[in-house]
Amino acid sequence: MSKDFRVEMTDISKSFGGVTALKDVSFRVRPGEIHALVGENGAGKSTLVKILSGAIQKDSGTLKIDGLDVQIKNPHGARKLGIGIIYQELTMVPDLTVAENVYLHHLSNQRGFMNWAALFRSTDELIKRIGFDIDPRQHVGELSVAYQQVVEITKALSEDVKILILDEPTAVLAPKETERLFEVLNTLKSQQVSIVYISHRLDEIFQIADKITVLKDGLKVGEVISSEASTDDLIQMMIGRKLSAMFPKRKKKIGEELLSVQNIKKGKLVNNISFSLRSGEILGLAGLVGSGRTETLRAIFAADRKESGQIIIDHHPRKINSPKHAVSEGIALIPEDRKNHGVILSMSIKENISMTMIKSVVYKIGILNKSVETSIVKKLIRILQIKTKSIETHISHLSGGNQQKVVLAKWFGRDCKIIFLDEPTRGVDVATKIEIYQLINDLAEEGHGIVLVSSELGEIVGLCDRALVLNEGNIRGILERAELTEENIIKMSI
């Protein structure tokens, strides 16, 4: 009987502009069950829960809640059905009290006046219900991240939630805080709430989940009872496919040491990081989101000020205090956040590309030589095969893949020996991805040293000569070419 299931998603398909994100995926959760969703980046986990929470619409398939067919058109509709979602990034208003945050959506129902006593009382009851003791009068900004998450959950409960979705809830939590969260989840479970739990941390999933559904490339590849499966089984299911076909072969000519980084420290996420990079080498930086990969690159590039540590370039110690310094020492950084850090959306392709070499495209005393600028930009557009009608086109009109090529072009023109690539294929279509892989290989063959950060394990394995695996700001180990497999990376990073 279908009434056994709280959520019953059947043959759900969804595609974005021709790219299939989900194909015929079925997903069922019982009342009082914690059901984990796992899979690599891009497997379709977020797409599936976004359909359930009304953030996006399915193309086909059926959705039943408590045995009844429903259409969820928007997040509001999902909330009415008792579906609550908690995202990785918390959405609290830090300057309001706990109680105000919990009842933020109901505040407008108070006829313009606040009933503080009732507000604090009912918030207190909700928090007690999940076994916590937080003062409803406290400002949310003063709470630790874990307690803020408890407030998020309380907020979901204030709407009488029957299905609670958590997207990577422990990414921002310390181990102790994770324990507290699990207590809350178990309490909710005993109150017959259905919980959908997304996480990369497999050990946690075995600890908390009753069932596990594995997605890969938009397909459901398995559903297992967690007490009957092992970590190795899951990893096998998650990887499966062979990405190696996408990665072009490369003639390896690894030469002299270009860069040596010693004991770099910056905050919690860069803790005594040391490594060296040779000419012609592609070094991977692997690890989970929040493991300190981006922060490490930014500290070396001086995008953030490092606390301590030494940088040695061509066997000479260098002081690098600003990105300008880093660039003049021959380091380029292709940043992770393309729209905010990589390009200037309101400027043209030409202006974006020439930004790194602006001081060399002049006649004299800083007057721009626009004909030289145009010819340099045109040449780079040809080399990188950027598809555009004109070099005056604004970046905001380009696709993600072409935008990323513009970022690459602006650093190609500068010809730095050491190139940091932070998630260079994020948000890029498959065809462009392969082109970018080829470009990375070409750079290495020309004798550049490359550090590659990627959340797609396939890229690390397919492109890199070695990989450093990071976890919470520490180096967990180095995998040489022979041992560089997706399984080993996952094992080392969790």
Binding site: P323, M347, I358
Partner: protein, 333 residues
């Protein structure tokens, strides 16, 4: 996740009718400052015979020359995403010290030192904003008060009158080149300079880029602070020039000059289509903006409209001009 970061497909207007409406509104958006300028010009010529005469136009331009120069400096600051509230105080201070210096110094030295002091005051704002990372509004608000106070202290609260030794400045202010008053020539010179900077120099390109996305510029290996610092110094220098022009025309350096002038300068830049968030603006439109503001005052004087209603109408025209630009914002978002 990969798929969700893709940008949504741009909506294109379907039929030909939609296209022509779009083209029309594009035209209005692109030239809205010019359109307002022309409308005002026509309306003014119709309602007053005295408006479109060489004498009146010359007068109008001479009146706006000082604030025009200030607005062009303000434009550079606003392009970086900043603001400079101290310009009015610098105008007054420069007016006072130029009169004071000319009591004892030779002409060129007195003027040169005055401009340098303007640059120095601007540099203090630049230091606070670019190096100490203070909010531009706060830093220049403090400078506004300090410099105003210094002007009063130096002049002991009364205007300093240009004596015999300052006659050459007075002559400069009153003279013409090919029938154009010297202050107006100076304003056009500054205009061409700013236009050239924004269009043809690395400095100008980077100012626009910093206003659009400072972090991206910094990560391209450019020391952003130098440029942010420089725009405040330039703005201070331009303000000092405006102060000197005022002294040259009135023959006195007055410490109460230019109160509220920063708001007119900001208004001119905004009427000229600049965004207070930075990255957007033009020298031509700023010049038009300042002439528009001048014309509003001028025509109302010719029509004998009293001062108070003038302020109301001026405010309404600013709202109207910015509303015209507002169409674009809702369109592109």
């Amino acid at each position: 996740m990969l798929l969700n970061t893709e940008t949504p497909v741009r909506k294109t207007s379907g039929d030909a009718g939609g296209q022509s409406i779009k083209k029309y509104s594009d035209f209005v958006l692109k030239y809205n400052t010019l359109i307002i300028f022309i409308i005002l010009l026509i309306v003014s010529s119709i309602i007053s015979d005295a408006f479109f005469t060489a004498r009146n136009i010359t007068n109008l331009l001479r009146q706006v020359s000082g604030i025009g120069i200030v607005s062009l400096g303000m434009l550079l600051v606003i392009m970086t995403g900043g603001i400079d509230l101290s310009v009015g105080s610098i105008v007054a201070f420069a007016g006072v010290i130029s009169a004071y210096f000319l009591l004892s110094m030779p002409f060129a030295l007195g003027i040169g030192v005055t401009i340098l002091i303007g640059v120095a005051i601007g540099s203090v704002s630049g230091y606070l904003v670019a190096i100490q990372r203070m909010a531009p509004f706060i830093a220049t608000l403090a400078l506004m008060t300090i410099v105003r106070g210094l002007g009063f202290i130096l002049s002991k609260g009364t205007p300093i009158i240009l004596e015999e030794s300052g006659q050459s400045l007075k002559e400069f202010g009153g003279n013409y080149v090919f029938g154009i008053p010297n202050p107006v020539v100076l304003m056009f010179f500054v205009f061409i300079l700013v236009y050239f900077i924004l269009k043809y120099t690395v400095f100008g390109r980077l100012i626009i880029a910093i206003g659009s996305n400072e972090e991206s510029v910094r990560l391209s290996g450019i020391n952003v602070w130098i440029y942010k610092f420089a725009v405040y110094s330039i703005c201070g220098g331009f303000s000092a020039i405006a102060g000197i022009i005022s002294t040259s025309r009135t023959g006195v350096g007055s410490p109460i000059l230019g109160i509220g002038l920063e708001l007119d300068a900001i208004a001119a830049v905004v009427i000229g289509g600049a965004s207070l968030k930075g990255g957007k603006g033009s020298a031509v439109n700023t010049l038009l903006g300042i002439i528009i503001l001048g014309m509003i005052g001028n025509i109302m004087n010719l029509m004998n409209v009293p001062g108070y209603p003038q302020q109301v109408i001026k405010g309404l025209i600013i709202i109207f001009a910015v509303l015209l630009q507002g169409i674009k914002k809702s369109d592109s978002s």
